[in-house]
């Protein structure tokens, strides 16, 4: 469960870059995880490449497809982007299901264990490392001039364009980058689970990522991290509820979006601000200043 939480942390960080910081609501993020996973498992099985090479090639393929899909879709308005990426996600899922001669469809495709064992401890450390890597990479992007382009695009794309930002190029860059995040997570996850099926390519999985990011705090840095762990843990605790959990999560999203647009992060921040006001000694820790010159 810990490794799985961290898997979702990586997915959520990638999607937050795209949807949160850049304002592009793709609904195919989970599909890029699957592209990473299937590419690697298939290459390992049919071409006998080493697992790490398979994962790397899966990531390259996901980046290329992300770049291509971005080229096709990113001139569209928000609602059409969501629809087009959703259609893409469903097409890939159907393709994987139907081509069972190659993918073994719903029967599942075996992916050899990366560490030769299904024991979860080594994978936990692996995913911890990957999640930290994802955080660092996301931080480096958000903190760079690219981060400024992304936020400008999200706030007002026309204004960004006439202030000199090549909006299309940078949206596509973030789209491909978020696909890379997903494919890295998906590739390793496949060789941890040992068996791939088209089930996580269903819309439910995408919905989980959306829920995690929104509940955690859209467009905040810690949001996807908190949200992914929180929702994954909650989801495990409520396992007995089955599909009803999705209803609960949907309600949670509505409540959070209305009361706390910055999600759990927003809640913690206001709690921190409240405490800092009461206990001035805590102020530098709880309410750090917003900006440097």
């Amino acid at each position: 469960m810990l490794a799985t939480s961290l898997y979702y942390v990586i997915l959520a960080i990638g999607w937050n870059l795209l949807a949160g910081y850049t304002g592009q609501f793709s609904l195919a993020h989970h599909t890029f995880a699957a592209i990473g996973a299937y590419t690697s498992a298939l290459l390992v099985q049919y071409a006998r490449v080493p697992i790490l090479v398979g994962i790397a090639l899966g990531v390259v393929l996901a980046a290329a497809i992300g770049y291509g899909l971005g080229t096709l879709c990113l001139r569209m308005r928000a609602i059409y982007l969501a629809l087009a990426t959703w259609a893409f996600a469903e097409s890939v899922r159907l393709l994987v299901t139907v081509e069972y001669g190659i993918t073994r469809g719903d029967l599942g495709l075996a992916a050899p264990f990366l560490f030769g064992t299904p024991r979860s401890t080594p994978y936990y450390y692996l995913f911890l490392g990957l999640a930290l890597g994802a955080m660092l990479a996301a931080w480096a992007i958000v903190d760079s001039r690219i981060g400024a382009y992304m936020r400008a695009i999200r706030d007002d794309e026309e204004a960004a364009a006439v202030m000199g930002v090549d909006t299309f190029k940078w949206k596509r860059f973030v789209f491909a980058t978020s696909a890379v995040f997903a494919a890295v997570a998906g590739g390793f996850q496949g060789h941890y689970l040992g068996l791939l099926s088209p089930t996580p390519m269903k819309f439910n999985e995408m919905a989980m990522v959306v829920v995690m990011v929104i509940v955690g705090g859209l467009r905040t840095f810690p949001g996807p991290i908190l949200g992914a762990v929180f929702i994954e843990v909650l989801s495990e605790l409520l396992r007995a509820w089955g599909e009803v959990r999705m209803v609960l999560f949907a309600l949670l999203v509505i409540v959070v979006a209305r009361a706390y647009p910055a999600g759990l992060v927003g809640i913690f921040r206001s709690a921190g601000g409240y405490l800092a006001a009461r206990v001035p000694a805590l102020a530098p820790v709880l309410a750090p200043r917003r900006l440097r010159d």
Partner: protein, 252 residues
């Protein structure tokens, strides 16, 4: 060096046959507009006469259905907005379009950061220095850490202007209704900023406005549009007595 369309002491901006249609409506109709280097030109016309559409065509947000636009003699009418900006064109919007969730200072830094992407390499210290100086001009330096969405309407207009002046090089600044709904003190600040940038840095301005008093002070020449067409051009006195202008404004 003498090109037909401008170049030495020719026009900075020149359009020919510029046309934009929305369905059956011809919003801009074969517009011939020519603005000289260093000019502060006014663009007036009744509501719906095509002024904003013209600015959108010049800044690349709309693609012309016909005609051409030249900046310093070169065609820019097929370029994308950021490419036009890269050639030295900045603009403001009638209804301010800011980066609401970014601070005032971050807003003015965006054009400079975009310049880095085009291969510019201004040192960050110089960029910050100019940003702070411009914010001071427009009286927003004190608010530089506030979020742009927290600003009033007039302050938003000032920020749009400071942000546009961060475009480098800047040859032409297009302003769409910079004085609309703005407090008189802010109006003065805007006028001062325009005159100062025109005088000190030679920036050419094309100012769309209904504020005749402000335009009279700023613009030696104004162009008048009506139903997408250019119907008159000249000094304030000339156009004030122009029959077609009176007819356009006073009705048919």
């Amino acid at each position: 060096m003498t090109s037909v369309h401008g170049a030495p002491n020719g026009w900075l901006l020149e359009t020919r046959g510029l046309t934009k249609r929305f369905g059956g409506l011809v919003a801009v109709d074969s517009l011939p507009l020519a603005v000289g280097r260093g000019e502060v030109r006014g663009l007036i016309g009744p509501n719906g006469s095509g002024k904003t559409t013209t600015v959108n065509l010049l800044s690349g947000l709309y693609r012309a259905d016909a005609g051409e636009i030249r900046l310093r003699g070169e065609r820019i009418d097929r370029l994308r907005p950021h490419e036009i900006t890269g050639r030295g064109v900045a603009r403001t919007f009638q209804i301010p379009k800011l980066f609401g969730n970014m601070t005032v200072l971050e807003n003015v830094l965006v054009p400079a950061l975009a310049e880095l992407d085009r291969g510019g390499h201004r040192p960050m210290a110089e960029i910050l220095d100019r940003a702070r100086r411009l914010l001071e001009f427009v009286t927003l330096d004190r608010l530089r850490h506030a979020l742009a969405k927290e600003l009033s309407g007039g302050q938003s207009m000032l920020l749009q202007i400071a942000r546009g002046l961060m475009v480098r090089p800047i040859h032409l600044f297009l302003m769409d209704e910079p004085f609309a709904g703005v407090h008189p003190t802010i109006k003065d600040t805007i006028m001062e900023t325009i005159l100062r940038m025109n005088g000190e840095e030679g920036v050419t301005f094309l100012i769309v406005s209904h504020e005749m008093a402000a335009l009279r002070r700023l613009c030696p020449r104004v162009s008048v549009m009506h139903e997408g067409k250019l119907i008159a051009e000249g000094s304030f006195e000339e156009i004030a007595n122009h029959a077609a202008v009176l007819e356009a404004y006073l009705g048919r």
